[in-house]
Symmetry: C2
DNA sequence: CCATTTAAGTTTGTATAGCAAACTATACTG
DNA sequence: CAGTATAGTTTGCTATACAAACTTAAATGG
């Protein structure tokens, strides 16, 4: 079994809170701030700071608009983000698969 | 899909370097310091500090002896450690499985 | 119409964590 | 005996996650 893969896993994605958000974005194509907050159970502060990191990484695109008179921030996965998720999932599945089949 | 599992994943195990070491211990039943170092590609300092954490968590048992005149430190998974690995793997597989089948 | 509360988000403060480099101690080797 | 290698720990720095405080603006209500 290979056990030297530890530096090949994407830490931006690996963080549970972010993986949770990304998992959500992976399936819905677009989600706004409040939806993600409700869905993941994360605090607003967490969503905000983690999203900054995901944006920096180029994994999500952020769009700020107004809905009625209230601000609305919506997120969606970029292509690189989707690709990175797939790579991450494949690698983790392989690691975990090796342990139990 | 459930996307609020982020706080139910065991961070002690989740850390890639430790997961790598644990994956190794999971299959070999007992491994010494140098073996783990070679196997995982981690530095001695990393093995040392991460193992301290795993020991604190009760996931590994540490045994210090001498082989010939040289010190030899060997590690093995405890039962709680093995159990925790299984729980971790199941949860992660579920998360990842939900994303791609 | 002013005061209060609620909502959406961001910034800040703190404690923790990971990693690499430096260090300790001991054993070989020439 | 001097120098190098081995086994392992400690230290110092940087980065990170999380919660709490803050900002801005809109709804509510007396």
């Amino acid at each position: 079994m290979d056990t030297s893969w530890h530096n090949s896993i994407d830490k931006v994605i690996h963080e549970p809170a972010r993986l949770s958000m990304l998992a959500c974005l992976y399936v819905v194509e677009s989600a706004d701030f409040v939806f993600l907050q409700r869905q993941t159970g994360l605090t607003g502060g967490n969503i905000s700071s983690h999203m900054s990191k995901l944006e920096e990484a180029g994994y999500v695109k952020v769009e700020k608009t107004f809905v009625g008179k209230r601000p609305n921030t919506s997120f969606q996965l970029t292509e690189p983000g989707r690709k990175a998720m797939e790579v991450y999932c494949d690698r983790m599945k392989k690691v975990l698969g090796d342990l139990a089949g």
